[in-house]
């Protein structure tokens, strides 16, 4: 079956530091990867959409300078949160889309900023 792994599951960083999170699609090839942030109130914010061999498209309020993404192949993507502050807290979700169009999510990386 189609699985999406994310690493790490939880991370704590000091305010102003950066952290990197990874996403791996297993059992299928991810034609595109979407990174979301889910708030404690459970609302979803789309950060960026990444398609292999195409430019990464960031949503309003999110920038490459703050959330650089790497998507080198059809099974792997990573995103870094640079200079993390309190408002960056949340559950970061990676959604990988296969050729059939269905989007599968990983378990998320929960970011806590002290």
């Amino acid at each position: 079956g189609a699985l999406v792994y994310q690493y790490p599951r939880r991370t704590i960083c000091k305010s102003g530091t950066s952290m990197r999170m990874e996403c791996q699609a297993v059992g299928f090839q991810a034609t595109s990867v979407a990174w979301y942030r889910q708030s404690p109130q459970k609302t979803f914010e789309l950060i960026a959409l990444s398609t292999v061999n195409s430019a990464i498209k960031y949503e309003q309020n999110f920038t490459q300078e703050k959330f650089p993404i790497s998507h080198p192949n059809l099974s792997f993507s990573s995103m870094t949160v640079l200079n993390a502050y309190l408002e960056d807290r949340g559950l970061y979700l990676c959604g990988a889309r296969g050729w059939g169009g269905e989007q599968y999510f990983g378990p998320g990386t929960r970011l806590t900023v002290l």
Binding site: V4, Q6, S32, V33, A34, K42, T43, F44, L46, L49, T51, L91, L93, G95, R97, G101, E102, Q103, Y104, F105, G106, P107, G108
Partner: protein, 113 residues
Amino acid sequence: QQQVRQSPQSLTVWEGETAILNCSYENSAFDYFPWYQQFPGEGPALLIAIRSVSDKKEDGGFTIFFNKREKNLSLHIKDSQPGDSATYFCAANYGGSGNKLIFGTGTLLSVKP
């Protein structure tokens, strides 16, 4: 502006009952509607999805009823079990949006034994 709305915000049913979760949307260009189930501490899991060319989709005890004219859909969970207690999200997208899903705010379902 919330493009995808869900109701109720929370729902409690007894074990064995059918839970009905509602979703409505504004953008008539939306043509794909997945439902996700999320347990605390986990990511959302794809449960069932429907395309706008259909008006009904069944998978196991889960059924989506879709009304394109009214721009709404509902998820019916037949014979609800305590293990179905979770937050359910309705989402929508259209071909031109690529992988961009618009999520609703979720319905918290509690199934009492």
